[in-house]
Symmetry: C2
Subunit: 407 residues, 2 copies
Amino acid sequence: MARIVQKFGGTSVGDVGRIKNAARRVKCEIDRGNQVAVVVSAMAGTTNQLIEWTRLTSRLHDAREYDVVVCSGEQVTAGLLALALQDLEIDARSWLGWQIPIRTDGVHGKARIKAIEVEEMRRRLTRGQVPVVAGFQGVSPRGRITTLGRGGSDTSAVALAAALEADRCDIFTDVDGVYTSDPRIVAKARKLSRITYEEMLEMASQGASVLQTRSVEMAMNHRVRVQVLSSFTEAPGTLVVDEDEIVEKRVVSGIAYSRDEAKITVQRVADRPGVAAAIFGPLADDAINVDMIVQSASDDGRTADLTFTVARTDLDRAVSVLERGRNTIGFAALKPDPDVVKISVIGIGMRSHAGVASRMFQTLADKGINIQVISTSEIKVSVLIAAEYTELALRTLHTAYGLDAAG
Amino acid sequence: MARIVQKFGGTSVGDVGRIKNAARRVKCEIDRGNQVAVVVSAMAGTTNQLIEWTRLTSRLHDAREYDVVVCSGEQVTAGLLALALQDLEIDARSWLGWQIPIRTDGVHGKARIKAIEVEEMRRRLTRGQVPVVAGFQGVSPRGRITTLGRGGSDTSAVALAAALEADRCDIFTDVDGVYTSDPRIVAKARKLSRITYEEMLEMASQGASVLQTRSVEMAMNHRVRVQVLSSFTEAPGTLVVDEDEIVEKRVVSGIAYSRDEAKITVQRVADRPGVAAAIFGPLADDAINVDMIVQSASDDGRTADLTFTVARTDLDRAVSVLERGRNTIGFAALKPDPDVVKISVIGIGMRSHAGVASRMFQTLADKGINIQVISTSEIKVSVLIAAEYTELALRTLHTAYGLDAAG
């Protein structure tokens, strides 16, 4: 007998028919003799509607009231799924964040879970009752409702799985697993049966976002085995696990990309100490995250060009910040460029295998694709290229690293 | 300075524009220097949608989960109205039933309020903060969400006004007050500036339902002055108050009607002790309420005919119950008749004025309207007549009792 947390995302509970389908997926595990705790998202579209209402109602943004409004969607789904389970003759009851309670800090709109009190739930699980937990929500030290940020239900599920010491946390979503690359672009992409937490983190933060990044971090920290799968098929999904559990080691597991990038080149800054701080300090003060950075000698030999990337949505703001600091920084020109994409080769095997990066550079060079910026981590190599080469780069690299599906 | 509870019904908060309008009505009272606590219903249509989902999801009806789902509408409105008030630079925060808490019994779906802990809210009111309370909901002794039944937000408002010792409870709804009769039928109906609790109770339970009956009972018991008014006009509404506060005494205050009636005649039952019990016992066992009853000698002189009314929705069920008991009861025939209406003349002045009933009977007789059943209370005379005479009876009685608007 295993204890399993099942989490159903917005499309998996998008209407009454799908809620009934989710109930059947729960029943399958119950019929196998397992204990099941369920975490639910709001019905697809609901949360966006609620957010829209808060925007239309007030020019101000009181995150405490925002949380009261937007958390209601998960509450509805929790009640309905409990009813649907009862209809299948399964003992079930809903739990809201404040009822368990799921204690969070007081940062409304993106609260962090501090503790989950699961004693009562554990007793009921042993009796065969299925708890249906409203995801995305908790309660602050002041007794007000908090929410965990977009995609927070994944985090609710992993945190609950950790607290309940569950054997597995199944995340039902609208894709049936994690692929070696985006199947919409790379037709030969394959579903991975297993992936490590570290790789999943890189995949998620590189734009192949299947799971919320924070939920993967939490799973890694608490060693929660997470399975990503579809509620609409019976096929097994992708298991996100510890490195020890990966039998067949691969050097590269996947090729990810992110279009949410923009490049800024600051031309001919003085090549002297403190100039980087003069550029990046004001950006940080304005809460603009800088990702990749490269500095190169300028044509004149006395100055340098500094190129870096920010989120595309921050581009205009970053340019304003730098223009305001022009006199302090001292530069000849600013060149913003939103037409870039970041391509990343990800694999735990890079730790022990050399030559992964050079194969990437060579492969791209063979196709005439110019690399604008490079960054690397222990298990990842990322390059920034012109956006128009996205598909070509992804498909070529996918083949080059031997990831293509057979046949 | 006064302390006022304002309650906004579903149409008064039906969309974001109307929520902003409600916020402006709150601001008017604040600008007058008053303390205001607000109670809100769900946006019009929301609760019906939620109820529909629970019905579609499960053949069973777990009232605890039903409550979790249906109470979410008021939660959304509470958060949004708090935001709208903040947008008008008014300090406001939402309160859910469990946060205050509003303690109820454990009868899910139609819980009764046991206590409201208002100390904290009172402190904040004194500081000028506006609490925005989600109506219709409370928390059970087991810590689960309860709801108060249809129209329960009126009860929330009156209970809160009582707990806060408010000077007035304003109920904003889609009508602008209580009329002497239904203005859609009686063109000369007048808006009453004041009405007693007792009259309002009779008006409400007789089908002129502006306020939930239970909220009027609660207002009467706690002497809460209630005003019924529209959020869409500036006109003053109708004040529901104690008899002492009515300056201009009227004999009759209004003519109400109810189409939610059906008549059953049990023909030729034995005229012996115990026969009424044999008929009404099984109906009560089946939770069918009987309203008016009349017994008359039958044509043959040895038996009696028994006529009574039930809610129209209970008619078929009542007939089945009686048919099943036919042998025990002993009767010749059952005559069900759904085409009836109950017309009631209501007025606190009846206590001291004779002749109210006889004027009613004479007026109807003059128009050739046959009275099928009669029932009376201290401040009300009701008659059952054929439904086709509804309009004629209402208009004629309205004139006969001198209620017509001038001009």
